[in-house]
């Protein structure tokens, strides 16, 4: 299906990294966010949990560039720490999903027959439920928290990533060098790990990057509902929930955490689109 390919058709070339604007923009944004997240304890101007009664709903000023929240906590510091949690949850969720999806997709695509049927049909069951509904159901069973949110997100994206890996494996598996390796007497495991997997990973990496953007939104959504990251740990979604009642008095409490989510989502989305143009000229991920 060539939907998304025709869809995002800004003039770019796939000849190199330098000419790929999406890759550059996404990579730069994400690298900046990652640096901010890692260096949070040193960059954040204040402690994100320090309550300052005199500063309740304080407007932005030099000392608190993004203002302070309902408890007088510094919004900038909380956004920095919140970003850290959001990135950690979304990236680790997608990484965990990849770790399971790649072997499953490889096996389904390479061995075909009953392996394919078993893997594909069981993963299809996850798709019966809308993503957010499944995430909330997970939390209903296991209780709220970052780890549960990450697990839920990992499970939700498993069928999508495995399906991309399966398709990509099917494409790579038809190449003659794979048949050649088998003819030379290489074991299935060796063929899979040295010939098929390295060549089939591109599209799944692209998809993982795109899904990280959605994972970030999902995590923020769960935290917004009070079902994701729990206080006192600052989270972007949680900040949005806390500030809802004071929206008109102190809009900065709502505007900046939301903008942080948007920037992070854009970073992943751009990176995904850039990687797609680079890694997936055949359009397996579309």
């Amino acid at each position: 299906m060539s939907v998304a390919r025709v869809a995002i058709s800004l003039p770019t070339q796939t000849r190199g990294y330098a000419s790929n604007r999406f890759l550059l923009a996404g990579g730069f944004l994400l690298a900046s966010l990652a640096i901010i997240a890692v260096l949070a304890p040193w960059i954040a101007p204040h402690d994100p949990g320090t309550v300052e009664v005199r500063r309740v709903l304080g407007a932005p000023d030099l000392l608190h560039p993004l203002g302070s929240d309902v408890l007088g906590r510094d919004v900038l510091s909380r956004v920095i720490y919140g970003l850290r949690v959001s990135l950690l949850v979304s990236v680790s969720a997608v990484a965990a999903s990849l770790a399971v999806a790649v072997p499953l997709g490889l096996a389904a695509g390479y061995f075909g027959r009953w392996v394919d049927t078993a893997v594909s049909r069981s993963l299809d069951m996850i798709l019966i439920f809308p993503a957010m509904l499944l995430a909330v159901t997970f939390v209903a069973i296991l209780g709220p928290g970052s780890l549960i949110a990450a697990t839920a997100i990992a499970v939700i994206y498993l069928p999508i990533l495995a399906r991309v890996m399966r398709t990509s494996t099917l494409v790579v598996g038809q190449h003659e060098y794979v048949a050649g390796a088998r003819a030379r007497g290489a074991s299935h495991l060796r063929v899979l790990t040295t010939h098929v997997a390295p060549n089939a990973l591109g599209p799944v990496i692209v998809q993982a990057s795109v899904l990280s953007a959605f994972a970030l939104q999902l995590e923020a959504g769960l935290s917004f509902l009070g079902l994701g990251t729990q206080p006192p740990t600052p989270s972007l979604g949680g900040m949005l929930a806390d500030g809802r009642d004071v929206l008109t008095q102190a809009p900065w409490v709502e505007v900046f955490p939301g903008l942080a989510i948007v920037v992070a989502v854009l970073a992943f989305a751009f990176l995904g689109e850039g990687l797609r143009r680079f890694f997936d000229p055949l359009g397996v991920t579309e």
Binding site: V6, A7, L133, I141, F224, T248
Partner: protein, 319 residues
């Protein structure tokens, strides 16, 4: 006609295992809770007698297979059990809540299609500016989390411009105009992201169809561009667009969980969140069951429409 009928029957039969799997998952929600779900629900002050009574009410004192069969049997008779707090039958609760969620989802999708399809066609056929503007809208629509967009819309349209109420609800039957006033902000919030998806899909599919040889032939025949686009390209792009609309209904139903909570709409989504927060598992089960069933039914209808629009799908299923 018989092939069409065979397709409908085939598709209906495919829905049964899906419903069955879904029912097992919903059934297991209560049973998978770590520790003792009854103690979790009733709290630490519950006496042993209370716990035993609740366990009996929920049928937890039987074997797992028996529990499932009894639960499924009751479900097929429309008995979803009772809310453990208000003791109201859950089927009544759902009957009140489901129309709100359906209205929110349907209006949002309608708005998204009304915006997404024409602008998608324009983007596929228009010049550079049309492409750039729609590209910007797509990136904006997909990247902005709906709950943040909702907050910003409340800030702009209710707090600053005071055009719409920030939250609340009246039913359509009680006050149609009031209902639409309360629904406007939630619907706008949900529709923006969906419109972006549908626009992107329409643009991509229509552009792909316009590149096919039969379109060149139609042009050579002297057909007007409008006729080619609306009479042929859109007709061919229809099945893909309808499929995406069907899939995106799932996203809307998920989004409704957040948006209903945010705008205090009394829908199933908010019911589920309340259930999760209260550890009221029967409510969570009923809510999840309702939303998942709705999604499965929408997927079924989508597939039937696609089959009707594209006879090749019917032939493929029959083969």
């Amino acid at each position: 006609m018989s092939r069409q009928l065979a397709f409908v029957v085939h598709r209906l039969l495919l829905t049964l295992p899906t419903l069955l799997v879904m029912s097992v998952v919903v059934f297991l929600i209560l049973r998978l809770v770590p520790g003792d779900p009854v103690r979790t629900m009733l709290g630490f002050r519950a006496t042993d007698a209370n716990v035993a009574e609740m366990r009996r009410q929920l049928g937890l004192d039987q074997s797992l297979i028996n529990q499932y069969l009894n639960w499924l049997g009751a479900l097929l008779h429309g008995d979803l059990g009772r809310d453990i707090v208000s003791h109201a039958p859950l089927s009544e609760l759902l009957a009140q809540r489901l129309p709100v969620t359906c209205e929110l989802t349907a209006l949002s999708m309608l708005l998204a299609v009304i915006v997404g399809v024409p602008f998608g066609v324009r983007a596929a056929t228009g010049g550079r500016w049309a492409r750039r503007l729609t590209e910007g809208f797509v990136i904006f629509g997909i990247s902005i989390p709906d709950f943040w967009l909702g907050i910003m819309l409340v800030l702009l349209l209710s707090a600053i411009l005071q055009l719409l109420p920030p939250s609340g609800y009246v039913s359509f039957s009680a006050d149609p105009l009031g209902n639409l006033r309360y629904m406007t902000l939630p619907v706008l919030t949900l529709a923006v992201g969906e419109a972006a998806y549908i626009l992107r899909t329409t643009r991509g599919t229509v552009a792909a169809v316009l590149g096919r040889p039969f379109v060149t032939f139609l042009r050579a025949k002297g057909l007007s561009p409008a006729r080619i686009i609306y009479g042929h390209a859109l007709r061919n792009a229809g099945p893909t667009i309808v499929t995406v609309v069907g899939i995106q209904v799932g996203v809307l139903l998920g989004g409704a969980i957040i948006i209903e909570t945010m705008f205090t709409l009394p829908g199933v989504g908010r019911l589920i969140v309340t259930g999760v927060n209260q550890r009221n598992y029967p409510i969570v089960q009923a809510g999840v069951l309702a939303v998942a069933t709705l999604f499965i039914v929408v997927s079924l209808i989508t597939d039937l429409i696609v089959g009707w629009l594209d006879p090749r799908v019917v032939d493929g299923a029959a083969a």
